[in-house]
Amino acid sequence: MANLTINGKTINVDVDNDTPLLWAIRENVGLTGTKYGCGIAQCGACTVHIDGVAMRSCGVTVSEAVGKQITTIEGLATGGALHKVQQAWIANDVPQCGYCQSGMIMAVAALLKEKPKPTDKDIDEAITNICRCGTFQQVRAAIHEAASA
């Protein structure tokens, strides 16, 4: 049993302490916007914010996440308005299949908090999510647009 604080709500989940946070979020909390892609922190589809930092939730255990502020893609919008990254994503029609995009958006939102005006090099270094459809061109354009919003 653990108390997780997800998107501002504290939720009691009945899981072993070593359960990956990804699966607690998806199966015990029921928020399925956070995706499983590899389970070994390679692809980034499961990226969430833990105390504001982008983390791959398949590589974080529930016990490590206790007491921290966890934000998932479902909690990114605030006050009924989509986050500027989500808005830029819509404006640039970024997703193709879309499966990796929750993680991509979460990684970008964290980047912009740290570096509000990232250069292309900053993007190259910070955004290492896999997208098999190959949306990178639109991702880059949307990051710059969000940064100037």
Partner: protein, 730 residues
């Protein structure tokens, strides 16, 4: 499994309900004998025809039978219907009909299969007619109501206008009457000239974007049903081998575990409350496989066998031939020969394979992402043993397909597991490791190419000898022609969808078919991938061997192939071929035809330390005949480079002890944003034909870069992937 199914049904009224979240659809079907009868969608809104439902508020529901896996077909097909329907695009929503409904209605929505870049090109005509037919009926209904000649009425943006009087009404207001009309004869349904398109042909925004940015989009892996359990599975890692035993007792007390299920004769699944519990228990269970002879197979043994097939004395199928290439090569002044190879590749869709099934003696329902709803339906029928009217498949948006989700192995497994727990919905999700182990792999091939020149350095003969695996042999044996796999010659065929772009006086293209035990599948671009590398890199070799410019050399051979030449010229011009490149930057170029479309690509790269490649710029051109959504075509072209270059640099699946060695993205990597330059697209649609766009461009991605690598280093690479040669991105 891929055969079309057309079971006999009782002609009776019945209702198919969909309980799932997501993109399901419920229709009250009332199919009587005799005249037109209104068929209603779940919310009571009438169908004008199977493609178009209009709600009273003028929302237009457009039905799309093909699957959306990121390629934009959902939006493109809706654009084509809307174009002819003259409806308000801002009020268009889409809906998937289900395969079960289609069977019950005499296959009203036609083919559901979404592969081979066929989504739009093979259904564009009948969906446009569906939109046009609906428009004619709606306008007729308004004319009838006004008691005016229909010729005095026009439609635009879901509004019908009686021109002489200026009276107007809306689609929503007349749809009930329109739905009762007899549809016009097919001959009376005229389609617009594409030059008059207002919605089609434009880069309108996709219809499925918002939910993909908020986490709300439900993929197969996200399906939730009341009382649902979760399953993890391991199939025999040595292809073709069997399950011998498993130690069920070892995991009996583990948290959440409900049941261990043998699936067929080669797989075992653990069913638990959560997938994490199921996977944890499965990993803890000792499983013994009866591996058999296939465990002796390795990539080395396969390569040796394929290399033997390059010998001209071995039997081979001839796919394209003119003149006498062997004789011309034998008497040539100059001869150039090279051997290439291309490895197995895994689709590695971002969303691992999954399907959710619930089975009772009276009903089998499946929820899954599939590229072929009808094939998934057939798999559900076969695995459940239930007739068509007791089966249903609810399609969800796919987290990638690339050909893998055209197969139905995962659907069959899910149904077999659910069958062991009647009444309980079970979601089967493959781990990434299972996904890598149990692929339907891009086939392995080698190719020996021989070119011959006369004294004036004219290419007089070309012999292309392919050796390797056929996809059709395993996947669709009925499509073989006297044992030959015609698809093995994609891009090298004499004519048709994937025709060679060069005229050589003496040409021989042949295939020594050798089918290892690894299950093959259609992998984005299919055989265009390796055939374009073989042909386009070798064209580069031939040009350099006689000191000619690679573009000029090609042009001389392409005068009889003006469409191939046009895209090559478009790319050459855009990239600045013949003009100096930036300092330290080198160019490569390639062209191919596939899936009915003509494509070319060029790359600008630099190479440091001989092994670190930076791709600075890519230019790509395509002539698909017609472009339905240029913004999505651009994305397909750019995405083809990401998929093709990922395979070139990082891909390649290798066999050891009969099984695949790569297990996850750490051993089967994929390109990241830092490695991918901007792709500049030059679209040159020439009209008069409909080609696909999802796949052809992947063929030029690798050879453009490989030819640029030669330009930069003088070193010819004839083996994929580059990681085997310690060449990587800078």
């Amino acid at each position: 499994m891929n055969k079309h199914i057309m079971p006999k049904l009782d002609r009776r009224a019945f209702v198919i309900g969909t309980a799932a979240a997501g993109a399901g659809l419920a229709i009250g079907l009332d199919i009587p004998f005799g005249g037109p009868q209104v068929v209603r969608a779940a919310d009571g809104s009438p169908e004008v025809n199977v493609w178009v439902v209009i709600r009273p508020d003028n929302t237009t529901v457009i039905r799309v039978a093909r699957s959306e896996m990121g390629q934009g077909t959902l939006t493109g097909l809706a654009q084509l219907v809307a174009e002819e329907l003259e409806c308000d695009w801002s009020k268009v929503v889409t809906e998937y009909p289900t395969p079960g409904q289609s069977v019950a209605r005499k296959r009203a929505w036609g083919d559901f299969s979404t592969g081979g870049s066929r989504g739009i090109r093979t259904s564009q005509e009948y969906v446009r007619k569906g939109g046009a037919t609906a428009r004619i009926m709606l306008v007729q209904a308004a004319a009838n109501e006004w008691k005016v000649p229909v010729t005095e009425c026009t439609a635009a943006n879901s509004v019908i206008t009686h021109t002489p009087s200026g009276k107007t009404t809306t689609y929503g207001a007349v749809v009930e009457a329109a739905a009762k009309l007899t549809p016009p004869a097919d001959a009376d349904v005229k389609l617009k000239d594409p030059k008059d398109w207002k919605i089609a042909g434009k880069g309108v925004k996709r219809l499925d974007t918002v939910d993909k940015t908020t986490g709300a989009m439900i993929y197969g892996a996200d399906v939730k049903l009341p009382g649902m359990l979760n399953a993890a599975i391991k199939d025999a890692p040595v292809f073709g081998s069997k399950l011998k035993s498993y130690d069920e007792a070892k995991i009996a007390g583990m948290k959440g575990v409900k049941k261990v299920v043998k699936v067929g004769d080669s797989a075992v699944a653990v069913v638990a409350d959560t997938w994490w519990h199921a996977k944890t228990a499965l990993d803890a269970m000792t499983i013994v496989w009866d591996e058999g002879e296939n465990a002796k197979v390795s990539s080395e043994s396969i390569a040796k066998w394929l290399a033997e097939g390059l010998d001209n004395n071995q039997p081979a199928f001839i796919g394209n031939q003119n003149g006498d290439a062997k004789a011309a090569i034998g008497s040539a002044v100059k001869k150039v020969e090279a051997v290439y190879n291309y490895p197995y590749q895994n689709h590695a869709t971002m969303e691992p394979l999954n399907a959710t099934a619930v089975y009772t003696a009276d009903k089998c329902e499946v929820w899954c992402g599939t590229q072929n709803g009808e094939a998934a339906f057939a798999a559900a029928m076969e695995a459940s043993g239930l007739p068509a009217e007791k089966c249903e498949v609810h399609k969800l948006i796919l987290g990638g397909g690339f050909g893998r989700r055209g197969m139905t192995d995962y659907v069959r497994q899910a149904v077999l597991i659910a069958k062991e727990m009647p009444g309980t919905p079970v979601k089967l999700l493959w781990s990434r490791e299972e996904d890598m182990a149990q692929g339907k792999f891009h086939p392995v091939t080698q190719c020996k190419l021989t070119g011959a020149f006369d004294a004036d350095n004219n290419l007089t003969a070309l012999h292309v000898r392919l050796s390797g695996q056929s996809i059709l042999y395993t996947v669709r044996p009925a499509a073989l022609v006297n044992g030959m796999d015609p698809a093995a010659f994609q891009g090298l065929s004499p004519s048709g969808d994937a025709a060679i772009g060069y005229a050589v006086p003496n040409l021989l293209v042949e295939h020594s078919m050798r089918n290892p035990h690894v299950p093959p599948g259609f992998w984005r671009g299919v055989n265009v991938n390796q055939n374009a590398i073989y042909m386009e890199c070798f064209m580069d070799e031939l040009a350099h061997s006689v000191g000619q410019d690679p573009v000029e050399f090609r042009r001389k051979l392409m005068s009889k192939h003006p469409k191939h030449l046009a895209v090559l010229n478009a790319v050459a011009e855009k990239i600045g071929w013949g003009k100096p490149a930036p300092q330290g930057v080198y160019r490569g170029i390639a062209q191919v035809m596939g899936y009915g479309s003509y494509v070319a690509g060029a790359a600008e790269i630099s190479v440091t330390e001989g092994s670190k490649i930076k791709v600075h710029r890519i230019v790509a051109s395509t002539d698909p005949g017609y472009v339905v959504n240029p913004a999505q075509v651009e994305r397909q072209i750019a995405g083809s480079f990401v998929y093709g270059l990922s395979a070139l640099f990082y891909g390649g699946c290798t066999v050891k002890d009969g099984k695949m060695e790569q297990t996850n993205f750490d051993t089967y990597n994929s390109m990241r944003i830092a490695e991918m330059p901007k792709v500049e697209c030059v679209m040159v649609p020439s009209g008069g034909f409909w080609g696909g766009v999802g796949e052809p461009t992947i063929g030029v991605a690798a050879p453009a870069v490989l030819n640029a690598y030669f330009a930069a280093t003088g070193k010819r690479i004839r083996s994929v992937p580059l990681r085997d040669q310690n060449i990587t991105f800078a």
